[in-house]
Protein backbone atom coordinates (compact mmCIF):
# COMPACT_ATOMS: atom_id res chain seq x y z
CA UNK A 1 0.00 0.00 0.00
CA UNK A 2 2.87 2.33 0.88
CA UNK A 3 4.49 1.63 -2.47
CA UNK A 4 1.29 2.64 -4.29
CA UNK A 5 1.05 5.82 -2.21
CA UNK A 6 4.68 6.67 -2.99
CA UNK A 7 4.05 6.21 -6.71
CA UNK A 8 0.92 8.45 -6.53
CA UNK A 9 2.94 11.15 -4.74
CA UNK A 10 5.69 10.86 -7.31
CA UNK A 11 3.14 11.36 -10.11
CA UNK A 12 1.78 14.46 -8.30
CA UNK A 13 5.28 15.88 -8.14
CA UNK A 14 5.79 15.32 -11.88
CA UNK A 15 2.38 16.69 -12.92
CA UNK A 16 0.82 18.55 -10.01
CA UNK A 17 -2.99 18.34 -9.78
CA UNK A 18 -3.27 15.34 -12.11
CA UNK A 19 -5.49 12.39 -11.27
CA UNK A 20 -4.47 8.85 -12.15
CA UNK A 21 -6.81 5.85 -12.01
CA UNK A 22 -5.82 3.31 -9.38
CA UNK A 23 -6.60 0.23 -11.54
CA UNK A 24 -6.13 -0.56 -15.21
CA UNK A 25 -9.64 -0.52 -16.67
CA UNK A 26 -10.85 -3.07 -19.16
CA UNK A 27 -8.05 -5.54 -18.75
CA UNK A 28 -8.87 -8.98 -17.47
CA UNK A 29 -7.64 -12.57 -17.68
CA UNK A 30 -9.65 -15.73 -18.26
CA UNK A 31 -10.63 -17.65 -15.15
CA UNK A 32 -7.86 -19.91 -13.90
CA UNK A 33 -5.34 -18.40 -16.34
CA UNK A 34 -2.49 -18.20 -13.85
CA UNK A 35 -3.20 -21.70 -12.55
CA UNK A 36 -2.91 -23.08 -16.07
CA UNK A 37 0.07 -21.00 -17.15
CA UNK A 38 2.88 -23.18 -15.69
CA UNK A 39 1.39 -26.28 -17.33
CA UNK A 40 1.07 -24.51 -20.68
CA UNK A 41 4.66 -23.31 -20.53
CA UNK A 42 5.88 -26.81 -19.67
CA UNK A 43 3.89 -28.18 -22.61
CA UNK A 44 5.65 -25.75 -24.91
CA UNK A 45 9.04 -26.72 -23.48
CA UNK A 46 8.27 -30.41 -24.04
CA UNK A 47 7.05 -29.66 -27.57
CA UNK A 48 10.32 -27.87 -28.30
CA UNK A 49 12.28 -30.84 -26.91
CA UNK A 50 10.25 -33.23 -29.08
CA UNK A 51 10.88 -31.05 -32.12
CA UNK A 52 14.63 -31.08 -31.42
CA UNK A 53 14.62 -34.88 -31.13
CA UNK A 54 12.59 -35.22 -34.34
CA UNK A 55 14.89 -32.85 -36.21
CA UNK A 56 17.95 -34.74 -35.03
CA UNK A 57 16.44 -38.06 -36.09
CA UNK A 58 15.50 -36.61 -39.46
CA UNK A 59 19.16 -35.85 -40.10
CA UNK A 60 20.53 -39.12 -38.72
CA UNK A 61 17.95 -41.55 -40.02
CA UNK A 62 15.38 -40.17 -42.44
CA UNK A 63 13.83 -43.62 -42.88
CA UNK A 64 13.35 -44.12 -39.15
CA UNK A 65 12.01 -40.60 -38.68
CA UNK A 66 9.15 -41.39 -41.06
CA UNK A 67 8.07 -44.38 -39.01
CA UNK A 68 5.24 -43.96 -36.51
CA UNK A 69 6.76 -43.65 -33.07
CA UNK A 70 4.88 -46.33 -31.22
CA UNK A 71 5.80 -49.60 -29.63
CA UNK A 72 3.67 -52.69 -29.88
CA UNK A 73 3.85 -53.79 -26.25
CA UNK A 74 0.65 -54.10 -24.27
CA UNK A 75 -0.05 -54.14 -20.53
CA UNK A 76 -2.95 -55.84 -18.75
CA UNK A 77 -5.96 -53.58 -18.39
CA UNK A 78 -5.88 -51.47 -15.25
CA UNK A 79 -2.31 -52.53 -14.50
CA UNK A 80 -1.08 -49.09 -13.45
CA UNK A 81 -3.95 -48.76 -10.96
CA UNK A 82 -2.61 -51.80 -9.12
CA UNK A 83 1.09 -50.87 -9.04
CA UNK A 84 1.08 -48.52 -6.00
CA UNK A 85 -0.90 -51.08 -3.97
CA UNK A 86 1.47 -53.93 -4.92
CA UNK A 87 4.51 -51.88 -3.95
CA UNK A 88 3.08 -50.55 -0.69
CA UNK A 89 2.11 -54.14 0.24
CA UNK A 90 5.66 -55.35 -0.46
CA UNK A 91 7.37 -52.61 1.56
CA UNK A 92 6.73 -54.02 5.09
CA UNK A 93 8.28 -57.33 4.02
CA UNK A 94 11.24 -55.48 2.55
CA UNK A 95 11.62 -53.55 5.79
CA UNK A 96 11.53 -56.66 7.98
CA UNK A 97 14.04 -58.39 5.73
CA UNK A 98 16.52 -55.64 6.44
CA UNK A 99 19.77 -56.98 7.86
CA UNK A 100 20.43 -55.55 11.32
CA UNK A 101 24.14 -55.15 11.94
CA UNK A 102 25.48 -56.82 15.10
CA UNK A 103 26.70 -54.55 17.88
CA UNK A 104 30.33 -53.71 17.34
CA UNK A 105 32.72 -55.76 19.45
CA UNK A 106 30.27 -58.41 20.65
CA UNK A 107 30.62 -60.58 17.56
CA UNK A 108 34.37 -60.14 17.36
CA UNK A 109 34.77 -61.19 20.99
CA UNK A 110 32.98 -64.51 20.36
CA UNK A 111 35.06 -65.19 17.26
CA UNK A 112 38.26 -64.31 19.08
CA UNK A 113 37.48 -66.76 21.92
CA UNK A 114 36.56 -69.51 19.45
CA UNK A 115 39.76 -68.96 17.45
CA UNK A 116 41.91 -68.94 20.63
CA UNK A 117 40.41 -72.20 21.95
CA UNK A 118 40.86 -73.89 18.57
CA UNK A 119 44.44 -72.69 18.31
CA UNK A 120 45.20 -73.88 21.87
CA UNK A 121 43.79 -77.36 21.17
CA UNK A 122 45.67 -77.60 17.87
CA UNK A 123 49.02 -76.53 19.36
CA UNK A 124 48.64 -78.85 22.38
CA UNK A 125 47.79 -81.82 20.17
CA UNK A 126 50.70 -81.10 17.85
CA UNK A 127 53.13 -80.74 20.77
CA UNK A 128 51.90 -83.96 22.39
CA UNK A 129 52.15 -86.01 19.20
CA UNK A 130 55.56 -84.60 18.27
CA UNK A 131 57.17 -85.12 21.69
CA UNK A 132 55.71 -88.62 22.05
CA UNK A 133 56.79 -89.77 18.64
CA UNK A 134 60.30 -88.34 19.14
CA UNK A 135 60.83 -90.05 22.50
CA UNK A 136 59.34 -93.26 21.14
CA UNK A 137 61.70 -93.17 18.15
CA UNK A 138 64.70 -92.47 20.37
CA UNK A 139 63.78 -95.36 22.69
CA UNK A 140 63.50 -97.77 19.77
CA UNK A 141 66.84 -96.68 18.32
CA UNK A 142 68.54 -97.09 21.70
CA UNK A 143 67.37 -100.69 21.83
CA UNK A 144 69.16 -101.54 18.55
CA UNK A 145 72.74 -102.62 18.92
CA UNK A 146 75.53 -101.19 16.76
CA UNK A 147 76.08 -104.58 15.22
CA UNK A 148 72.46 -104.82 14.12
CA UNK A 149 72.72 -101.40 12.52
CA UNK A 150 75.88 -102.40 10.70
CA UNK A 151 74.26 -105.58 9.47
CA UNK A 152 71.22 -103.64 8.23
CA UNK A 153 73.37 -101.17 6.36
CA UNK A 154 75.52 -103.96 4.99
CA UNK A 155 72.48 -105.79 3.63
CA UNK A 156 70.45 -102.91 2.21
CA UNK A 157 73.01 -100.36 1.00
CA UNK A 158 76.18 -100.23 -1.04
CA UNK A 159 79.31 -98.12 -0.94
CA UNK A 160 78.08 -95.65 -3.54
CA UNK A 161 75.18 -94.65 -1.31
CA UNK A 162 75.58 -91.00 -0.27
CA UNK A 163 74.98 -92.09 3.29
CA UNK A 164 78.55 -93.44 3.33
CA UNK A 165 80.14 -90.30 2.00
CA UNK A 166 81.62 -89.46 5.39
CA UNK A 167 81.55 -92.91 6.90
CA UNK A 168 84.34 -95.42 6.87
CA UNK A 169 83.02 -98.91 7.47
CA UNK A 170 85.37 -101.54 8.90
CA UNK A 171 86.80 -103.62 6.10
CA UNK A 172 85.80 -106.74 7.98
CA UNK A 173 82.23 -106.23 6.93
CA UNK A 174 82.78 -104.87 3.44
CA UNK A 175 81.23 -106.94 0.70
CA UNK A 176 84.50 -107.32 -1.08
CA UNK A 177 85.63 -109.60 1.70
CA UNK A 178 83.09 -112.19 0.60
CA UNK A 179 83.39 -111.76 -3.14
CA UNK A 180 87.08 -111.78 -3.75
CA UNK A 181 88.99 -113.76 -6.28
CA UNK A 182 89.77 -116.21 -3.49
CA UNK A 183 86.25 -117.64 -3.73
CA UNK A 184 86.16 -120.26 -6.46
CA UNK A 185 83.43 -120.09 -9.15
CA UNK A 186 82.31 -123.61 -8.32
CA UNK A 187 81.63 -122.56 -4.75
CA UNK A 188 79.47 -119.67 -5.92
CA UNK A 189 77.49 -121.96 -8.26
CA UNK A 190 77.08 -124.44 -5.44
CA UNK A 191 75.73 -121.64 -3.20
CA UNK A 192 73.26 -120.48 -5.80
CA UNK A 193 71.95 -124.01 -6.40
CA UNK A 194 71.54 -124.63 -2.70
CA UNK A 195 69.80 -121.31 -2.08
CA UNK A 196 67.47 -121.98 -5.02
CA UNK A 197 68.11 -118.46 -6.38
CA UNK A 198 68.59 -119.71 -9.97
CA UNK A 199 65.00 -120.89 -10.11
CA UNK A 200 63.85 -117.32 -9.51
CA UNK A 201 65.40 -116.12 -12.78
CA UNK A 202 62.89 -116.30 -15.62
CA UNK A 203 63.91 -118.84 -18.20
CA UNK A 204 64.21 -117.82 -21.83
CA UNK A 205 63.80 -121.35 -23.11
Amino acid sequence: MKKRKDIAEELQQIIPGSTWPAETPGYGVPDGYFEQLPGQIMQQIHAQQSAAVAEELDEMGPFLSQMPKQHPYAVPEGYFDTVPGQIMAAIPAANTAKVIPMPAGKGYWKWAVAASVTALIAISTLFFVTSNSTSSMEAQLAAISDQEMMDYLHTYTDDSDPIFANVSLPTSIRQEQYLTDDVPTSAIEQYLENSDLLSEVPSNE
Binding site: S50, M60, H71, Y73, V83, P84, Q86, I87, A94
Partner: protein, 183 residues
Protein backbone atom coordinates in the same frame (compact mmCIF):
# COMPACT_ATOMS: atom_id res chain seq x y z
CA UNK B 1 19.85 -29.10 -11.84
CA UNK B 2 17.82 -28.70 -8.64
CA UNK B 3 14.66 -30.62 -7.93
CA UNK B 4 11.38 -29.32 -9.43
CA UNK B 5 8.85 -27.63 -7.16
CA UNK B 6 6.33 -30.39 -7.87
CA UNK B 7 8.74 -33.08 -6.66
CA UNK B 8 9.69 -30.91 -3.71
CA UNK B 9 6.03 -30.83 -2.67
CA UNK B 10 5.77 -34.62 -3.00
CA UNK B 11 8.90 -35.11 -0.94
CA UNK B 12 7.58 -32.73 1.71
CA UNK B 13 4.52 -34.96 2.08
CA UNK B 14 6.77 -38.02 2.20
CA UNK B 15 9.04 -36.49 4.87
CA UNK B 16 6.14 -36.18 7.34
CA UNK B 17 5.86 -39.41 9.34
CA UNK B 18 2.06 -39.45 9.31
CA UNK B 19 1.81 -38.82 5.52
CA UNK B 20 4.89 -40.78 4.42
CA UNK B 21 3.01 -43.60 2.69
CA UNK B 22 0.65 -41.17 0.95
CA UNK B 23 3.61 -39.12 -0.26
CA UNK B 24 5.33 -42.23 -1.58
CA UNK B 25 2.14 -43.42 -3.29
CA UNK B 26 1.94 -40.04 -5.06
CA UNK B 27 5.54 -40.42 -6.22
CA UNK B 28 4.77 -43.90 -7.56
CA UNK B 29 1.67 -42.62 -9.34
CA UNK B 30 3.62 -39.81 -10.94
CA UNK B 31 6.54 -41.87 -12.23
CA UNK B 32 5.30 -45.45 -12.58
CA UNK B 33 4.34 -45.31 -16.25
CA UNK B 34 7.52 -43.64 -17.47
CA UNK B 35 9.68 -46.01 -15.47
CA UNK B 36 7.62 -49.05 -16.45
CA UNK B 37 8.04 -48.36 -20.17
CA UNK B 38 11.74 -47.67 -19.77
CA UNK B 39 12.13 -51.02 -18.00
CA UNK B 40 9.77 -52.88 -20.33
CA UNK B 41 11.70 -51.82 -23.42
CA UNK B 42 14.82 -53.29 -21.85
CA UNK B 43 13.48 -56.55 -20.40
CA UNK B 44 10.64 -57.04 -22.95
CA UNK B 45 8.36 -59.28 -20.88
CA UNK B 46 5.57 -57.67 -18.83
CA UNK B 47 5.99 -59.91 -15.77
CA UNK B 48 9.73 -59.24 -15.72
CA UNK B 49 9.10 -55.51 -16.09
CA UNK B 50 6.60 -55.63 -13.21
CA UNK B 51 9.13 -57.40 -10.96
CA UNK B 52 11.88 -54.93 -11.81
CA UNK B 53 9.55 -51.95 -11.36
CA UNK B 54 8.59 -53.14 -7.88
CA UNK B 55 12.23 -53.67 -6.95
CA UNK B 56 12.99 -50.17 -8.18
CA UNK B 57 10.35 -48.53 -5.99
CA UNK B 58 11.26 -50.67 -2.97
CA UNK B 59 14.86 -49.50 -3.38
CA UNK B 60 13.63 -45.94 -3.72
CA UNK B 61 11.61 -46.32 -0.50
CA UNK B 62 14.68 -47.53 1.36
CA UNK B 63 16.93 -44.75 0.08
CA UNK B 64 14.62 -41.78 -0.37
CA UNK B 65 15.46 -40.41 3.09
CA UNK B 66 19.00 -39.86 1.87
CA UNK B 67 18.00 -38.30 -1.46
CA UNK B 68 19.77 -34.98 -1.93
CA UNK B 69 17.46 -32.37 -3.35
CA UNK B 70 20.18 -30.81 -5.49
CA UNK B 71 19.40 -33.47 -8.11
CA UNK B 72 16.25 -34.12 -10.14
CA UNK B 73 14.12 -36.87 -8.62
CA UNK B 74 13.26 -38.37 -11.97
CA UNK B 75 16.93 -38.52 -13.04
CA UNK B 76 17.66 -40.48 -9.88
CA UNK B 77 14.67 -42.76 -10.49
CA UNK B 78 15.74 -43.44 -14.08
CA UNK B 79 19.22 -44.26 -12.84
CA UNK B 80 17.88 -46.83 -10.38
CA UNK B 81 15.50 -48.26 -12.99
CA UNK B 82 18.31 -48.59 -15.53
CA UNK B 83 20.63 -50.28 -13.03
CA UNK B 84 17.91 -52.66 -11.84
CA UNK B 85 17.04 -53.59 -15.44
CA UNK B 86 20.68 -54.24 -16.27
CA UNK B 87 21.11 -56.33 -13.11
CA UNK B 88 18.05 -58.35 -14.10
CA UNK B 89 19.44 -58.92 -17.61
CA UNK B 90 22.80 -59.90 -16.09
CA UNK B 91 21.07 -62.52 -13.92
CA UNK B 92 19.26 -63.84 -17.00
CA UNK B 93 22.55 -63.95 -18.87
CA UNK B 94 24.16 -66.02 -16.10
CA UNK B 95 21.24 -68.47 -16.09
CA UNK B 96 21.28 -68.82 -19.86
CA UNK B 97 25.04 -69.29 -20.08
CA UNK B 98 24.49 -72.59 -18.30
CA UNK B 99 22.11 -73.71 -21.04
CA UNK B 100 24.52 -72.41 -23.72
CA UNK B 101 22.00 -69.83 -24.88
CA UNK B 102 22.41 -66.10 -25.29
CA UNK B 103 20.52 -63.39 -23.44
CA UNK B 104 19.76 -61.40 -26.59
CA UNK B 105 18.31 -64.49 -28.22
CA UNK B 106 16.31 -64.93 -25.04
CA UNK B 107 14.92 -61.40 -25.33
CA UNK B 108 14.04 -61.94 -28.98
CA UNK B 109 12.31 -65.18 -28.04
CA UNK B 110 10.31 -63.29 -25.44
CA UNK B 111 9.41 -60.74 -28.09
CA UNK B 112 8.24 -63.46 -30.45
CA UNK B 113 6.28 -65.09 -27.66
CA UNK B 114 4.14 -61.95 -27.30
CA UNK B 115 0.54 -62.68 -28.24
CA UNK B 116 0.47 -59.65 -30.52
CA UNK B 117 3.77 -60.42 -32.32
CA UNK B 118 3.66 -60.06 -36.08
CA UNK B 119 7.01 -60.33 -37.84
CA UNK B 120 5.72 -58.43 -40.87
CA UNK B 121 4.62 -55.36 -38.97
CA UNK B 122 7.05 -52.48 -38.93
CA UNK B 123 6.71 -51.76 -35.22
CA UNK B 124 7.78 -55.31 -34.35
CA UNK B 125 10.66 -55.11 -36.81
CA UNK B 126 11.76 -51.95 -35.03
CA UNK B 127 11.69 -53.77 -31.68
CA UNK B 128 13.78 -56.61 -33.12
CA UNK B 129 16.24 -54.06 -34.48
CA UNK B 130 16.47 -52.36 -31.06
CA UNK B 131 17.08 -55.71 -29.36
CA UNK B 132 19.91 -56.41 -31.80
CA UNK B 133 21.78 -53.34 -30.52
CA UNK B 134 24.51 -53.55 -27.86
CA UNK B 135 23.06 -52.96 -24.38
CA UNK B 136 24.36 -49.41 -23.90
CA UNK B 137 23.25 -48.26 -27.35
CA UNK B 138 19.84 -49.81 -26.71
CA UNK B 139 19.40 -47.77 -23.53
CA UNK B 140 20.57 -44.55 -25.20
CA UNK B 141 18.30 -45.11 -28.18
CA UNK B 142 15.25 -45.80 -25.99
CA UNK B 143 15.85 -42.77 -23.77
CA UNK B 144 16.27 -40.46 -26.75
CA UNK B 145 13.77 -41.90 -29.23
CA UNK B 146 10.90 -42.82 -26.89
CA UNK B 147 11.46 -40.69 -23.78
CA UNK B 148 12.89 -37.72 -25.72
CA UNK B 149 15.33 -37.20 -22.90
CA UNK B 150 17.78 -34.31 -23.38
CA UNK B 151 21.40 -35.44 -23.59
CA UNK B 152 22.23 -33.33 -20.54
CA UNK B 153 19.85 -35.35 -18.36
CA UNK B 154 20.79 -38.63 -20.02
CA UNK B 155 24.37 -37.84 -19.15
CA UNK B 156 23.41 -37.72 -15.48
CA UNK B 157 21.39 -40.94 -15.69
CA UNK B 158 24.10 -42.95 -17.44
CA UNK B 159 27.21 -41.17 -16.11
CA UNK B 160 28.43 -40.73 -19.68
CA UNK B 161 29.52 -37.59 -21.52
CA UNK B 162 27.01 -35.92 -23.83
CA UNK B 163 29.36 -36.35 -26.78
CA UNK B 164 29.60 -40.10 -26.22
CA UNK B 165 25.81 -40.33 -25.90
CA UNK B 166 25.27 -38.46 -29.19
CA UNK B 167 27.73 -40.76 -30.94
CA UNK B 168 26.03 -43.79 -29.41
CA UNK B 169 22.59 -42.62 -30.55
CA UNK B 170 23.93 -41.91 -34.04
CA UNK B 171 25.35 -45.44 -34.34
CA UNK B 172 22.13 -46.93 -32.98
CA UNK B 173 19.96 -45.08 -35.52
CA UNK B 174 22.19 -46.19 -38.41
CA UNK B 175 22.17 -49.81 -37.28
CA UNK B 176 18.39 -49.83 -36.84
CA UNK B 177 17.79 -48.39 -40.29
CA UNK B 178 20.09 -50.97 -41.81
CA UNK B 179 18.39 -53.78 -39.88
CA UNK B 180 14.91 -52.74 -41.00
CA UNK B 181 15.88 -52.15 -44.63
CA UNK B 182 17.67 -55.50 -44.91
CA UNK B 183 15.31 -57.45 -42.68
Amino acid sequence: MAISQDDKDLLAIYQQTDTRERGFTLIIQKYQERLYWHIRRLVVDHEDANDVLQNVFIKVWKNLQGFREDAQLYTWLYKIATNESLSFLEQQKRKQTVSLSDVDTGLENKLKADAQFDANKLEWKLQRAILALPEKQRIVFNLRYYDEMPYEEMSRVLDTSEGALKASYHHAVKKIEEFIKNG
